[in-house]
């Protein structure tokens, strides 16, 4: 079959006019990957904001001003990071050319994976340390300085080691579980998109 026959065959096929469910269209419910990513980031962003306000509110209520300032700075960083991710997902549009669109989608999916790693390696130890510090102070207030002497914990290298080991074990276990879950939901898809980008971008020469 020559090229022209192939084209004629393709073009001779005229699908019946088909109307999509325009009511559904105008209501705008999408099942696309971008929508899923946007929803996930949006919800996580809102949860972060609500939890941050509650946490800082609690610390202010307990009159732990330094903790409140520390947490506020830390949580502001987290919120800004999410805002940035949210903007990035929202900036991808289906009207981009295919390579550009696939590259943006791929990079966003990788960012999603990266944010879990950042969460684990950076955010978790800081949150853990600050949380521990607050807990220590609360314990100190509740049980008095005889049972829990002020800041004695942090003077002990053994306790520091314990603190670090707990962090590392938690990060390792959570990272493995997160990686598994992420790969389960998106792994195959990321691989597929990467494969498409490689196929399109590989340079070929005329034979």
């Amino acid at each position: 079959m020559d090229d022209q026959e192939l084209k004629s065959l393709w073009q001779s096929e005229s699908p019946k006019k088909q109307q999509p469910n325009l009511e559904k269209t105008f209501k705008g419910k999408s099942i696309g990957i971008l929508e899923k990513l946007q929803k996930t980031v949006k919800w996580e962003h809102y949860v972060n904001i609500i939890m941050s306000v509650l946490l800082v509110g609690f610390l202010c209520y307990e009159q732990k001003w330094w903790h409140a300032i520390g947490f506020s700075a830390f949580l502001l960083g987290v919120i800004l990071y999410y805002k940035n991710l949210y903007d990035k997902v929202n900036n991808i549009t289906y009207t981009e050319n295919v390579v550009e669109y696939l590259t943006d989608t791929y990079s966003t999916l990788k960012d999603f994976e990266k944010r879990y790693i950042i969460g684990l390696i950076v955010i978790f130890p800081i949150a853990y340390a600050l949380g521990f510090d607050v807990g220590y102070d609360v314990g100190h207030q509740l049980h008095g300085s005889e049972k829990i002497p002020e800041r004695a914990f942090f003077a002990e290298p053994k306790e520091w080691m314990f603190f670090i080991v707990v962090n590392l074990i938690t990060i390792a276990i959570t990272a493995a579980i997160t990686h598994f879950i992420f790969q389960f939901f998106y792994g195959k898809h990321i691989k597929k998109i990467k494969g498409m980008i490689d196929t399109l971008q590989s340079s070929e020469t005329m034979e």
Binding site: Q11, P15, Q18, G28, G32, V98, M196, T199
Partner: protein, 161 residues
């Protein structure tokens, strides 16, 4: 309301190509319906922002291909071969034979890689290399080389199965 009416006419005009694109990326009727609906939705969402700085067909192809190529596919159900239920075959031709040939063409295209399907579809739609390059974001030279290779691959599949 006026905008919605315009969009309805627009969809009627372009439904054939949207159907063809959705069909080469789907395996069954339900999946096809989902993709078709999603492409329409994304066209609608971008409809008001289309300023005409690109050809309207370029814009339609981009959105439809981006939606279909990036969609997360559900686990394969009972995969059907292409039945072409929606195809109207020209009356002045041996309908059955032609239908079989078209079905073979679809089956063969589906054996290509997903990215290759986009290239061959645009080629079969008689788009110029320049327009294919604009839709896909490739250089014209690269489009030419790829189309030649994929054409040969497609013909081999059609001949040898």
């Amino acid at each position: 309301m006026e905008h919605q009416k315009k969009f309805k006419v627009f969809i009627e005009e372009h439904s054939a190509i949207i159907i063809k694109i959705c069909r080469i990326y789907t395996d069954d009727e339900q999946e096809f319906e989902d993709y078709f609906q999603e492409v329409t939705l994304q066209l609608w969402r971008s409809f008001h922002s289309f300023r005409g700085d690109a050809k309207i067909s370029t814009w339609v192809y981009r959105i439809a291909l981006n939606v279909c190529m990036s969609q997360i596919r559900k686990k394969k159900r009972n995969v059907q071969t292409t039945t072409l239920e929606n195809v109207q075959v020209a009356a002045d031709y041996d309908a059955k034979e032609k239908e079989e040939k078209v079905a073979l063409l679809y089956r063969s295209i589906k054996q290509l890689k997903e990215a290759e399907r986009a290239l061959i579809l645009l080629y079969l739609e008689d788009k110029s290399y320049k327009e294919i390059a604009e839709i896909l974001g490739l250089t014209i030279t690269n489009v030419g080389a790829k189309v030649n290779r994929i054409k040969t691959k497609l013909k081999n599949i059609m001949t040898n199965g």
